[in-house]
Amino acid sequence: MPDMNKQQREQLPTASDEQPQFGSIENPGLMLADEEGTTLEKRGAYAAPEVQGPQSKPRGAWGEAWRELRHNPSFYVSGVLLLFLIFMAFFPGVFTDIDPRHCPILDTNKDPSGDHWFGTNVQGCDVYARTVFGARASIIVGVATTALIVVIGGLIGALSGYFGGWLDTILARVTDIFFGIPLLLAALVFMSSFKDRTVWTVVAALGIFGWMQIARIMRGSVITVKKSDYVVAARALGAGTGRILGRHVLPNAIAPVIVVATISLGTFIATEATLSFLGIGLPPTEISWGADISSATTALRDSPYQLIFPSIFLSVTVFSFILLGDAVRDALDPKLR
C-alpha cells in the first residue's frame, strides 16, 4: 500500500501556479509523507496509521534534511552566530557592566579606548553597551513577527487551499490587496497612526502586512497534499476536517513555510531597524540599533565608530538568518541532492 501511494503521489502536479522561486521547495511537502521515518514518528508529524508500513528505511525526510544540514558549513556559521546573538539578547549583562543609559555628556563622541571599546556617542553613552543591549529589541521583533505571520499566513493559506471555492477567491483577493502595499510603506503609515508606540506596535505593523508570502506557499502546499491518497483515506475512515488539517495537511506543508519564515525573520529585523532609523519605529526609551545608527549620522565626521559598530551587528544578524534560511532550504530541497 505505501508503495502504490508513493507512485501515484509522484505523478501529482506540484502547485505550479504559485511563485516560481518557491516551486522547488514545495516538493518536500510530499516527500515528508512518502518516507516512513523514525524521526517523524517521534515528532508525531507522521501519524497516519492506515499507511504505516514496516520500518524499512532508517531515516525520514526530516532525518535526511538534518543529515544534509550537518554537512553544510553555512549552517554552522549561521547557527553559532545566531546562538551568540540570542544569548546576547537575553543576557546582555554577561557582556558588559556598563549601563547603556548612563550618558555623561562630557564623554561625547569619544574614539574607541580601553574604557569604551566601541567609543561613545553624541550624548556620551557607551556604544559597546548600547550595541549589546540593542540586540534584544531586534531579536524580539524578528521572532515575534515571524511567529505572527506564520499564524496569520498559515491559517489563511490553509483555509483557502483546503476549502477552495468562494472562500479561496475572497482570501486570494485579500492577499492581493495586502500584497499591493510595500511592507515598509504600509508599516510606516500604520506606525504613524499610533502616538504611544511599543515593541508590540512594531510587531503588529510588520505582522499585519507581512503574512502574504506564507499564505500563498501554505495554500499551494495544502492544495497538493489535499489530493493525496492518505488524506482521502483519512476522510474515508471518518476523520473530521480539523483532524485532517492538523494531522496530515499541516505537517506536510510546513517545510517550505519554515524556509520562508527563517528568511523573513532577517527581513523583519532589517525593516524594524529601518523604521527606527526613520524615527517612527521603536519608542525612544527602547535601545535600538536603527535609532542609534540614525543618531550617529549627525556625528559621522567626528566619530564614525558609533555608526559602524551597530551597523555591523545589525547586518550580521540579518545575514545569519538569511544564511540559515538558505541552508535549511538546501537541506529540504531534494532536487539539489
Binding site: I177, A186, T274, S311
Partner: protein, 309 residues
C-alpha cells in the same frame, strides 16, 4: 490573450479599492482625529474644527467618506492637503524625479546584475562564482539605510567620487547616480542570484547541447540560446521590481535629499498630511498593479509555452 487582459483588469478593481481603503482607513481612522492633529497643544478653535470636519466629510460614516474620496480620485482629483495645496500638483512635481531615480537604479541593476549572474552561472563552483555569491549575500544583508549612509559619507563627502546630495526641486542626472546605486543594490543582488541559478540550470538543457554540437561558437550559444532563455524569470522579477523601486525609495530619497515621491510620502506621514499620504500611496499602488499585469503579459510573450486563455 485579450480575454485574459480583460479578466486581469477586472481583478485589479477590487484590489485597487481594497488597497486604497486600507490606506484610507489607517490614515484617517487609526490616527484619531486628523483635524486636531493639525494643531499643537493649544487645541483648535471649535468653529474652525466644525467647518473643516464638514469640508472633509469627517462627520459621515467611514464608508461614505471613502466613497467621496474614491469618486474624486477616479476623476483625477487627489484632494488638497490641509494647507490648501492640491495633492495632484505635488505628485506631478515629485513623480518625474522618482522615475528618473528608478531608471538609474534599474539600469544599474540590469547591467551589473545580469552581467555578474551570467559570469557566476557560467563558472559555477569557480572562484568568480563564489565571490559573486558571497558579495551578493553581503549586499542583501546590509539594510539600505546603512548602505546609503555609509556610501553618502565615504563615496560622496569624504572621497568625492560621487555627488553626495541632490539639489532641491530638480536634481541633475549626476546627482542621482549614487542614490540610484544604493537604491538598486538590493535588487542587483537578487538579479545576479536569479540569473546565476537560471543560467546554471539551462547550461544542462538539451538545446544548449544541440547548439554546441552543431558547431556554433560559444559566444553565440551563450548570447543567443542560453541567455535569452535564462532571462525569462529575471525579466519577471525586474518588472515587478520597477514598481517596488518607486515605493522603496523612501529611505534612499530621505538620505540623499532627493525630492521624489518617497520623500514626499515620508514628510507627509511625519506631518500627518493625510490626503497627501493617501493620494501618493494610491498612485504608487496603481503603478505597482499595472507593472504586475505587464510582467505577466511579458511572460507569455517571452515564453511561448505559456498561453493565457
Amino acid at each position: 490573450m485579450g480575454r485574459y487582459v480583460v479578466r486581469r483588469l477586472l481583478q485589479m478593481i477590487p484590489v485597487f479599492i481594497g488597497t486604497t481603503f486600507l490606506i484610507y482607513y489607517m490614515v484617517y481612522q487609526l490616527g484619531g482625529d486628523p483635524i486636531s492633529a493639525m494643531f499643537g497643544d493649544k487645541g483648535a478653535d471649535p468653529v474652525f474644527v466644525r467647518l473643516k470636519r464638514e469640508e472633509f466629510h469627517l462627520n459621515d460614516p467611514l464608508i461614505v467618506q471613502y466613497w467621496y474620496y474614491i469618486t474624486d480620485l477616479l476623476q483625477g482629483n487627489f484632494g488638497t492637503s490641509f494647507n490648501g495645496r492640491p495633492v495632484a500638483e505635488e505628485l506631478k512635481r515629485a513623480f518625474p524625479v522618482s522615475i528618473r531615480l528608478a531608471m538609474i537604479a534599474f539600469a544599474i541593476e540590469v547591467v551589473i546584475g545580469v552581467g555578474l549572474g551570467l559570469l557566476s552561472g557560467l563558472r559555477r563552483g569557480k572562484l568568480a562564482d563564489t565571490m559573486v555569491l558571497a558579495g551578493t549575500l553581503v549586499v542583501i544583508s546590509i539594510p539600505v539605510f546603512v548602505l546609503g549612509t555609509v556610501a553618502q559619507f565615504w563615496l560622496g563627502s569624504e572621497w568625492g567620487i560621487f555627488e553626495a546630495t541632490a539639489s532641491v526641486g530638480d536634481p541633475t542626472w549626476s546627482q542621482l547616480v549614487l542614490p540610484g546605486l544604493v537604491l538598486g543594490s538590493l535588487s542587483l543582488a537578487f538579479v545576479a542570484r536569479l540569473t546565476r541559478t537560471s543560467v546554471a540550470e539551462n547550461m544542462r538543457a538539451d538545446y544548449v547541447r544541440t547548439a554546441t554540437a552543431k558547431g556554433l561558437p560559444r559566444r553565440r550559444v551563450v548570447t543567443r540560446h542560453l541567455l535569452r532563455n535564462s532571462l525569462i524569470p529575471v525579466v519577471t522579477f525586474l518588472g515587478a521590481d520597477l514598481g517596488a523601486l518607486m515605493a522603496g525609495a523612501i529611505v534612499t530619497e530621505g538620505i540623499f535629499n532627493v525630492d521624489g515621491v518617497g520623500r514626499l510620502i515620508y514628510l507627509a506621514v511625519t506631518k500627518h498630511e493625510s490626503s497627501t499620504v493617501v493620494g501618493a500611496v494610491a498612485a504608487l499602488v496603481m503603478i505597482y498593479l499595472v507593472m504586475n499585469l505587464i510582467v505577466d503579459l511579458l511572460y507569455a510573450v517571452l515564453d511561448p509555452r505559456i498561453r493565457y486563455a
